[in-house]
């Protein structure tokens, strides 16, 4: 009895250990501040008055609360177009990508699938070695996809990494016996995928949807090289032209110049907020799926 009692009592931490732990807490708190500060700063700036932003009076909290940046933003046609385009690309792209990924990953997870190791090798190979930018561009050009919406949806529709994650999920959580049982009951392969595999794979589908959606929403490079007409541009590309290349787009007359410059500066902060907010708002709710997805992937590569 006495032995059990002592083992239940925790061994006391030494002074050194407690100092060490305190030290860790301090560092982690500092890290949280370093990560959060720029984000809060951007949000505060975006809802401050133009003059306060340009004179550097914003430190942490908004100064002279105003929403002029956002008002101005939504008066601009290109931002609205970009937003609508991005929503379209994200929805359509995610739908295509997830469907294709499942269609590849599921057969590859079945042991009876002919040539599955060779195929898997082939797919993995593309992850570590690629022809490069120009050959890819030539293929897209050869398919007449340049300057069409398809150019953003098709060439990067499948990420090898996602296929690997999905495959290992199917392998571990959909046992062969389940397939055998359904076959005995007279279930076709397609029916099996639809009524058995998909309902059982909700966690992995969630991961795929989130990863692809965030990827599409944040992508700009494909749009940069494949698209030429401005009415197809996604938001990220518009963002680049306004903030990074500093094309505020407005022709300035001398009198209103100062104010316009201030507004242009403010506009950048508002744009960042508008472009990032959808992702950051959803993120805390879906964080566990992301973590889950990475765990599934790291079980076996």
């Amino acid at each position: 009895m006495a032995a059990i009692a002592t083992s239940k009592r925790r061994i006391k931490e030494s002074a050194g250990d407690r100092i060490f732990l305190g030290f860790i807490y301090v560092i982690l708190t500092l890290l949280v501040i370093i990560v959060l500060y720029p984000l809060i700063y951007i949000i505060s700036s975006s809802i401050s008055s133009p003059a306060a932003v340009t004179s550097g009076r914003v430190w942490l909290w908004p100064v002279d609360l105003s929403f002029r940046g956002f008002e101005e933003l939504f008066r601009r046609g290109e931002v609205i177009t970009g937003y609508l385009n991005s929503i379209f690309y994200t929805t359509a792209g995610t739908l295509i990508s997830v469907t294709l990924t499942i269609m590849i990953a599921y057969p590859l997870s079945r042991r009876s699938f002919f040539g599955r190791n060779a195929l898997m090798m082939f797919i993995t190979f593309t992850m570590i070695f690629s022809g490069g930018l120009i050959p890819t561009y030539m293929v897209v050009k050869g398919l007449n996809l340049i300057d069409t919406r398809w150019a953003l949806l098709i060439p990067n529709a499948i990420w090898v990494w996602q296929v690997i994650i999905a495959r290992s999920f199917f392998q571990t959580s959909i046992p062969e016996e389940l397939l055998e049982a359904s076959e005995i009951d007279g279930c076709s392969d397609l029916r099996f995928i639809w009524s058995v595999v998909l309902p059982l794979s909700k966690p992995i589908i969630a991961v795929l949807v989130l990863m692809y959606a965030v990827g599409q929403w944040n992508a700009y490079f494909d749009a940069l090289i494949y698209l030429k007409s401005a009415d197809l541009f996604p938001l990220q590309l518009i963002l680049r032209s306004i903030i990074i290349q500093n094309n505020s787009g407005s022709n300035m007359d001398a009198i209103a110049m100062v104010e316009k410059q201030q507004l242009a500066e403010l506009l950048k902060y508002s744009l960042i907020v508008v472009a990032t907010l959808p992702v950051l708002i959803i993120y805390p709710f879906v964080q566990r799926y992301f973590v889950q997805g990475m765990l599934v992937g790291s079980v076996k590569g």
Partner: protein
């Protein structure tokens, strides 16, 4: 990928890829003799090297620290926050960097002036480019990368911790002798993947951060391929450069993988 044969041909728009004449290694030779060749290779390797040296240990340390604190609100909060920047797009990331480091109104310079220092044109200084790139990258991805190590730490055999406790190990000794050896295989695999990507440095962010002033240090192979190939339509030459890059990468990956296999018995396949 078959179009990579372009590298060995003189591309002609009218004749098409397959109709263009073969020229063997002409474009490779042109690239090696190019005066920019060594600058490009140097810039690429220095930037990647810096990124690995500085960016590789930090997620490990972060994961070890998060692992030490008791499960609770604070732990969840730390993870939530450190993970968040990963979802910021490259364009937004670069925008944030530019706003913070802007020569006149940027936060960094306002702060410098406040404490009585001269303003610095951060993005115009070639010497600053690599640090800006690397540290912003760490800011963005450290939390995300730490998750992998946290997963590995969760898999360490709990009896080892009990044994360490019974033997009177301090927290630090426990980290040093139980945690670290437990995640060595994961560390090795991530390191292999990192080194295998040395030449395949992300094009997107470098390209966005480039400006005429810092180009001496910021022109890497990937951005060069884009400039020469797509902007100047020099398809064959750019394909050769890209192919050279991919091959070096593959060789590096296989070498490091082989080394790791021999030294630690863990490899990516």
């Amino acid at each position: 990928m078959l179009n990579a044969v372009l590298a060995f041909k003189d591309y002609n728009v009218i004749k098409g890829i397959w109709g263009s004449p073969w020229v063997g290694f002409k474009h490779f030779q042109l690239f090696f003799e190019n005066p920019q060749f060594w600058t490009l290779v140097k810039n690429t390797i220095f930037l990647s090297g810096y990124l690995i040296l500085a960016g590789f240990p930090i997620p490990i340390i972060l994961a070890l620290m998060i692992n030490e604190i008791r499960a609770g609100r604070f732990k969840k909060f730390v993870q939530l926050v450190s993970f968040a920047p990963y979802f910021i797009s490259t364009v937004v990331m670069v925008s944030i960097i530019m706003l913070f480091l802007a020569p006149r109104l940027g936060f960094a310079n306002v702060a410098l002036n406040y404490f009585g220092f001269e303003s610095i044109n951060f993005l115009g200084e070639p010497g600053m480019f690599r640090s800006i790139y690397v540290w912003s990258d760490i800011w963005q991805t450290a939390g995300y990368n730490a998750v992998i190590y946290l997963a590995a730490l969760a898999g360490v055999d709990p009896t080892l911790y009990e044994a360490a406790k019974v033997d009177g190990a301090s927290r630090f000794q426990k980290i040093r002798h139980v945690d670290l050896p437990g995640i060595v295989p994961t560390i090795v695999i991530i390191l292999i993947l990192n080194v295998g990507n040395v030449m395949a440095l992300g094009f997107e962010k470098v390209y966005l951060l480039q400006n005429p002033l810092n180009l001496v240090n910021s022109e890497i192979i990937a951005t060069y391929v884009y400039r020469i190939g797509l902007l100047n339509a020099n398809y064959s030459f750019a394909t050769a450069v890209g192919l050279f890059n991919s091959i070096i990468n593959l060789v590096l990956l296989l070498t490091v993988n082989g080394l790791a296999k021999r030294l630690t018995k863990s490899s990516i396949w």
